[in-house]
């Protein structure tokens, strides 16, 4: 083909450069400054923000919370998603309807689902305490709060995993299952030796998407607990946001943002490497 495409792609390139790459350079620039926009303060201080960050206990606490949140929620979503997908991977009446229902938690805003769960978790009038006959302050106790947030996240995002796994399972030829059955394999053996290996690429894709999403978690925590009680649910994004827009330290907040960006970059590089190795 000889028609030139440059003019058609130009608008996309320009808007992506201006609204994502330029701010990315700018955030790095900000992170090297002591910057408080309200007071018009902006002094170059080199890497002092980063040195402070290494000694900042609240940062390490936020990192620990983020890793705990990411690890637990991603593993739970993956296992639960796989179970539900395997269970739904058959033909039955109303399959389309079930797929639509599974999509609903995924489609509603995270903020809305967090508000719904906040009411469910309510210590006095919440239905959770009523069902279990307990009297637990789910969002007010340091132990339960982060796990309650994880549970909400699992509810909200497992459907995404279910849908991708269902699509992946449909691609596996049914003859493979039948052949294995004829050869006397148990359903567990079929799962381990046929389903799992063929599903591996999709599992990695789901892992990548979910890990990235969970690592930058903001909405769910902001609404449910705001980082409390006593910073026990404060993740990196929440800490960065508070530093930026509540204490108005744009320099240090930007340094925290840069760290989130670097972590996300490292996670995706790791997955992409594993993924391309798997394909070869």
């Amino acid at each position: 083909m000889t028609d030139k495409g440059r003019a058609y792609i130009l608008p996309a390139i320009i808007i992506l450069l201006v609204v994502t790459i330029y701010p990315l350079i700018y955030v790095f620039y900000l992170s090297l400054h002591r910057n408080m926009p309200i007071f018009e303060i902006s002094n170059f201080i080199g890497i002092k923000n980063y040195i402070f960050l290494l000694k900042d206990e609240r940062f390490w606490n936020a990192l620990k919370n983020t890793l705990y949140f990411t690890g637990l929620s991603v593993v739970a979503e993956l296992l639960l998603g796989l179970m539900i997908a395997l269970f739904l991977d058959r033909s039955f009446k109303g399959r389309g309807m079930i797929r639509a229902i599974v999509l609903i938690p995924w489609a509603i805003p995270t903020v809305v689902s967090a508000k719904m769960w906040e009411w469910i978790y309510n210590p006095d009038f919440g239905i959770l305490n009523y069902i279990f006959g307990t009297n637990i302050n789910w969002l007010g106790s340091p132990f339960w709060a982060i796990n309650a947030a994880i549970f909400m996240d699992v509810w909200k995002t497992t459907p995404f995993a279910v849908l991708l796994f269902m699509a992946g399972l449909q691609v596996i030829p049914r003859e493979l299952y039948q052949a294995a059955r004829v050869d006397g394999a148990s359903s567990f053996q079929v799962f381990i030796h046929i389903t799992l290996p063929l599903l591996k690429p999709i599992i990695l894709v789901v892992l990548l998407f979910r890990t990235l999403d969970a690592f930058r978690v903001f909405d769910a925590i902001y609404v449910l607990t705001g980082g409390g009680p006593g910073n026990t649910t404060e993740t990196l994004s929440i800490y960065a946001y508070k530093t930026l827009f509540q204490t108005l330290q744009f320099g240090y907040g930007s340094a925290l943002s840069v760290v989130v960006f670097l972590c996300v970059g490292a996670i995706s590089l790791f997955y992409v490497k594993t993924l391309t190795k798997g394909i070869k």
Binding site: I98, P105, T110, V112, M116, L163, L212, F218
Partner: protein, 271 residues
């Protein structure tokens, strides 16, 4: 028979898992205030629509729904126009470094919003766009572009090159061939991308929270979080508001579930 019943029991469990919290919210939205602070009973004794009335009377909720609607539909329009032009170039035209451009778009899609929110805030403030719908439309259009570009490039690639060449030989300019021949053939892909972009913009919270400050530009997620209560949290009104917000999404999901699933899985399975 027992196996079948077991299957339907588990199916019911999955349905309940997905819908349970929403059903509880529906029940809450119809309970009068006095019954909200008492459990049991689970179902409202004297169901009322007072909370729904209050959402529109006591709060500028219509205005906020309007804001969300304008932002989400404008974003969808811009994202798809720019995205389909790019996809056309990437799938059918001569272009250097196609893989690099696609990789660049993909890497933008993993940007954590928190990483760009502080500079974008400063830029938007200095342009005088703070607390305007444009601030959100521009940001959302950009961050949804990777999705549009990837999905539409996949769809444009599925159209045989011969169709494009035939249109050119018949005297179409490249742009005419694009919008008279290729675009109509891509309609399913475009609607799938449109739904995903719309849902993304309808639901986004971090940028909306940062760039808006009054009802002039506030969108639904921000309004729900900042729902004002005089003395205590107005759970009934919040429940009613969330149900109002969820209904269009549920209709969208049920009407377009096939397209949505296609859109979500297309990239993942082929990529």
């Amino acid at each position: 028979m027992i196996k079948k019943m077991g299957f339907y029991f588990l199916l019911l469990l999955v349905v309940f898992y997905c819908l349970g919290p929403i059903i509880w919210q529906v029940i809450t939205s119809f309970k009068p205030d006095t019954e909200l602070t008492a459990i049991p009973p689970i179902l409202p004794k004297h169901p009322t629509t007072a909370h729904y009335m209050a959402v529109f009377k006591k709060h500028p909720f219509l205005r906020i729904i309007g804001n969300s609607f304008i932002v989400a539909s404008s974003t969808t329009m811009f994202s798809l126009i720019i995205g389909s032009l790019s996809a056309f170039a990437l799938a059918k035209l001569k272009l250097k470094r196609k893989m690099l451009i696609l990789g660049f778009a993909l890497s933008v899609s993993i940007f954590p919003p928190i990483a760009t929110v502080s500079p974008l805030y400063i830029i938007i403030r200095s342009l005088g766009l703070r607390d305007t719908l444009w601030a959100l439309i521009i940001t959302y259009t950009t961050f949804s572009l990777p999705l549009s570009i990837w999905m539409l490039t996949n769809f444009f690639r599925q159209i045989p090159d011969e169709l494009y060449l035939a249109a050119r030989i018949d005297g179409c300019t490249p742009f005419q061939a694009f919008y008279k021949v290729l675009l109509p053939l891509c309609a399913p892909g475009i609607s799938a991308a449109a739904i995903l972009v719309f849902i993304f913009s309808w639901n986004e919270f971090l940028f909306a929270l940062t760039f808006t400050s009054t009802t002039a530009s506030r969108t639904i997620p921000v309004a729900i979080v900042l729902f004002p209560g005089l003395h205590e949290i107005p759970w009934g009104e919040i429940a009613a508001a969330t149900i109002i917000v969820i209904i269009p999404l549920i209709i969208l999901v049920i009407a377009f579930q096939k397209r949505i699933v296609e859109g979500l899985t297309a990239g993942a399975i082929k990529g």
